[in-house]
Amino acid sequence: MAAFNLKINGKNIEVDVDPNTPLLWVLRDHLNLVGTKYGCGIAQCGACTVHLGDIATRSCMLTVSSVGNQEITTIEGLSEDGDHPVQRAWLEVDVPQCGYCQAGQIMTASALLKKNPDPTDEEIEMAMNGNICRCGTYLRIKKAVKLAAENNS
């Protein structure tokens, strides 16, 4: 066990956990931030995506000890009230089916738009390719990412 000072969603939070604990389980089990999802545990599905700084990162294989003082943003902290342009676009397009993967999709999409505010279809597909949606909402995800980009410009 060791104490870690984490910056999560703009707040400083201290946790006392095994240094090898993946950030995913620190968020879910220790901080009750359950919006970040467990899907595979091996960084293959993207359900656990958070932002480390501005970079979309899989939290299931990122040990808490390797986070350091980088800022962590989870789906709960993406916006004050669910009004981030990507979240609004998701609502407008009515993207979700089961909804389980969507937090990860939104975190990947919002990191993409921060880096590339006007992505092409191919750039969206490539950026989102690590996020599995078992229900097959891919076309709506792409549409929502484009809508968020338009609304932002």
Binding site: M1, V17, D18, T21, P22, W25, R28, D29, H30, N32, L33, V34, G35, T36, K37, Y38, G39, C40, G41, I42, Q44, C45, A47, T74, I75, E76, L78, S79, D81, G82, Q87, W90, L91, D94, P96, Q97, C98, G99, Y100, C101, Q102, A103, I106, D121, I124, E125, M126, N129, G130, N131, I132, C133, R134, C135, G136, T137, Y138, L139, R140, I141
Partner: protein, 753 residues
């Protein structure tokens, strides 16, 4: 106007009579405590001070806000929105003043709470309309009594009751307390289809805001004070069972509370049809956090031993039977060898029309082909999990279940308590696809909680989820068709089987359209457990049949759509046999619609097209799928889809589900495969089990619904099966090669050196 006899449940009726004597039902604490930002955002009105329960499905607030209960479990099919829409339409409330709440397991109030078989809307249609119409009638009665005018003169629109002649009007909230005290009317009128104001208009999912902000919605997110985390260790292979284990090493690991064995079902237990379970003896590890339990699980010392041949008793919805479980460690290679052997032998005839054997002998042309598919894992994005807190008073459970109505009795039987003492909170499911109709994990959670004497949340790792059974079976189907000199289809033979069940539907198309028809089946038993997977059996048969018909049409020199339509015309005008289970007109209808919408016959250059149409789960779907070759690799670019599922409740959400079914179909047809070696699943996670991804989805999908006034017939499954055929037929056009073996990605000709 349709009049419908009301069938308000006894409990609801008692509530109403108790209202009459005891006043109003006040303060639904749960609802009021939900006075969150989300709730206020969803509704145009503030939360009311008092709620009045009119029946089990709806409560009306003193300010006109209406809470509608969604009775069926939600796994992404959208019933948490569409079912309340049906109630709201008959009630004539403004949708923006509706709040929706997921009902928990309550058979008395909500009857058959089952998500599966595309049955939800179809089975609830009348009951939900009745619930809304009954409440509206009671509100009208309340207004008529208050204003002393005839009830027939009261009109209702958007939550407002009016009496034109006296120029009186009142919101639902003003009449709710009076309405709640009235007797339930014996019969109520239902709307004509043309009068629907909410049904048939697109409404966004009522849970979207929670989803996009990461609120706890799913079973795996369930939180309960003092809850421990549990995981189970199951045998690594089918055909093995627990011999012994030593938990002493891991008990000392950080955060580990207890390690013990559970037996999910007693050997003598008569199982229900959905009690499927290959691994009843498990080691449970209970600890304080997921990561600590995961680590301990990897270190557990455990020994396995081969199972012996055994039997268990099953009650298949009233039919008692014995099920054989064979011993042995099975492999995919052996499965295909066995299936090929069975396919070459004679099989059990389930339907025969005319004299197919003789006609095949004299046919001008015969075509014979064989198709196969592997086992598939459901791979719901949310792994199996369940919360349980078992005490002397009863069992409190919560989690993702498609069939609480079937799981609750098993939990009760295993705990030895009455089913009335089982509470199940229904959480949103992170996918289902049939998998969560098998609730063994809820029983496991209950047993672990009882043994650990603590509230526990059982969580499967992805690897546990993928390797513990309940798969789409592996199937094979052989077809033979005879054409006469004029290229008419004169005989048709389908022989289908699988491990461990046959996929055959003897009475589906082209049965009824061919004079000489033979349907046969065979089965090979297995200890690998199977279960319903989105459109069970159809998900294979549609692809096989529609690929074969494409080849037959080509051999007959006919356009594939014309060929099917000719057969359907025959099935309509002069059907062969009386057992045909499809409506040829509706099947032809989706083919004609997809032909029109896809501009069939005007294929753009460089595009390769395949068509397919299928009936299953009471509905009809047809797809035209386009492929282009990019660097020599086939890429699905466009899919046009036509569906006849009767009245569509929520069109855009329905289109979403059809789009998903098409992408799911492309993914499973191209890549889906679970293989076995010595009983062990060879894929345990998404590194080796390939799921369709963004770059592999089509660029565009168009969904068209046949407009009619038929009561809804179901949508979750029907658009899925025909994708396999449309894809195979388009791949043929693109590559010049027919695809017979799923997954198509590995169906390549042997290299010739």
């Amino acid at each position: 106007m349709t009049l419908i006899k009301t069938q308000i449940g006894r409990r609801a009726f008692i509530r109403n009579t108790s209202l009459a004597s005891g006043g109003l039902v006040l303060g639904f604490s749960i609802l009021n405590s939900c006075k969150s930002k989300d709730a206020e955002k969803l509704a145009a009105l503030e939360m009311p001070e008092e709620w009045f329960e009119i029946n089990a499905y709806l409560k009306i607030g003193d300010n006109g806000l209406v809470t509608i209960m969604a009775p069926n479990p939600e796994f992404g099919q959208g019933v948490i929105t569409s079912m309340p829409m049906i109630v709201a339409d008959e009630l004539d409330v403004d949708w923006k003043n509706v709040l929706v709440e997921q009902a928990n397991f309550d058979q008395e109030d909500y009857g058959w709470q089952f998500t599966g078989g595309s049955q939800g809307i179809r089975r609830r249609w009348e009951g939900l309309r009745m619930a809304g119409a009954t409440a509206k009638q009671m509100l009208k009665e309340a207004a008529a009594q208050t204003w002393q005018v005839p009830v027939a003169e009261i009109t209702v629109a958007k939550g407002v009751l009016s009496h034109t002649a006296t120029n009186k009007s009142a919101g639902f909230g003003e009449m709710a307390s009076i309405a709640a005290n009235l007797e339930v009317p014996e019969e109520v009128p239902l709307k004509e289809v043309k009068d629907f104001t909410i049904i048939g208009t697109s409404k966004k999912s009522v849970e979207n805001h929670k989803i996009v902000t990461g609120k706890p919605l799913f079973g795996i997110d369930y939180q309960f004070d003092g809850a421990l985390t549990a995981m189970v260790v199951h045998p690594p292979a089918f055909g093995l069972q627990l011999k012994s284990f030593d938990g002493s090493q891991i008990k000392t690991m950080p955060g580990i509370v207890d390690v013990f064995k559970i037996k999910t079902l007693e050997d003598s237990f008569t199982r229900g049809y959905f009690d499927t379970n290959a691994f009843t003896d498990l080691v449970a590890i209970v600890g304080k956090s997921t990561w600590e339990v995961m680590n301990a699980k990897k270190q557990l010392e455990v020994e396995w031993e081969p199972i012996a041949d055994s039997k268990f008793k099953m009650d298949r919805f009233g039919t008692e039977m014995e099920v054989d479980v064979p011993s042995g460690l099975e492999s995919t290679e052996d499965h295909y060898a066995q299936m090929n052997e069975m396919a070459a032998k004679s099989a059990t005839t389930t339907r025969k029309d005319g004299n197919p054997e003789e006609v095949f002998k004299i046919a001008a042309k015969t075509i014979e082909r064989s198709y196969s598919c592997p086992f598939l894992a459901h791979n719901c994005m949310e792994p199996m999990n369940f919360f349980a807190h078992v005490t002397d008073e009863g069992a409190k459970l919560a989690g993702p279940l498609q069939a609480p109505v079937l799981t609750a009795p098993t939990v009760a039987a295993r705990l030895g308590i009455p089913v009335e003492k089982i509470d199940i909170e229904l959480t949103r499911m992170g996918g289902g696809f049939g998998r969560r109709a098998y609730g063994h994990y809820a029983v496991e959670a209950a047993l672990i909680s009882r043994e650990a004497k603590a509230p526990v949340k059982l969580v499967y790792t992805r690897e546990d989820d993928m390797s513990c059974g309940i798969y789409r079976p592996s199937y094979m189907a052989s077809y033979k068709a005879a054409l006469d000199e004029k290229n008419n289809l004169v005989a048709f033979h389908v022989k289908a089987g699988g491990i461990p069940e046959t996929p055959l539907f003897a009475n589906r198309f082209p049965a009824g359209a061919v004079d000489n028809y033979l349907a046969q089946q065979w089965e090979i038993n297995s200890n690998i457990t199977i279960g319903a997977f989105r459109a069970p059996r159809s998900n294979f048969m549609a692809g096989a049949e529609q690929s074969f018909l494409d080849e037959v049409a080509e051999a007959a020199g006919k356009d594939p759509i014309d060929f099917r339509l000719e057969l359907l015309e025959r099935a309509k005008s002069n059907p062969v046999g009386e057992e045909n289970d499809y409506d040829p007109d509706r099947l032809a209808g989706v083919l004609k619609l997809v032909r029109e919408k896809s501009n069939w016959g005007q294929t753009p250059s460089g595009v390769h097209r395949g068509v397919s149409a299928y009936f299953c789960h009471n509905s009809y779907a047809a797809h035209v799928l386009d492929i282009v070759l990019e660097d020599g690799q086939p890429k699905v670019t466009n899919v046009v889809c036509a569906i006849d599922c009767g009245i569509v409740i929520n069109p855009d959400a329905a289109a979403n589900m059809a789009e998903g079914a098409i992408i799911d179909g492309i993914g499973n047809a191209m890549y889906g495969e679970l293989t076995f070696r010595d009983g062990q699943p060879q894929q345990h996670n998404f590194d080796r089990y390939r799921i369709v991804r963004h770059t592999e989805a089509p660029k565009n999908i168009e969904v068209h619904f046949v407009q009619n006034k038929i009561d809804p017939t179901g949508l979750g499954e029907p658009p899925f099966p025909p994708v396999f055929g449309a894809l195979a037929n388009a791949l043929y056009k693109a590559t010049g090669r027919r695809y017979y073996k799923q997954p198509f990605i590995s169906d390549r000709p042997p290299l010739v050196g």
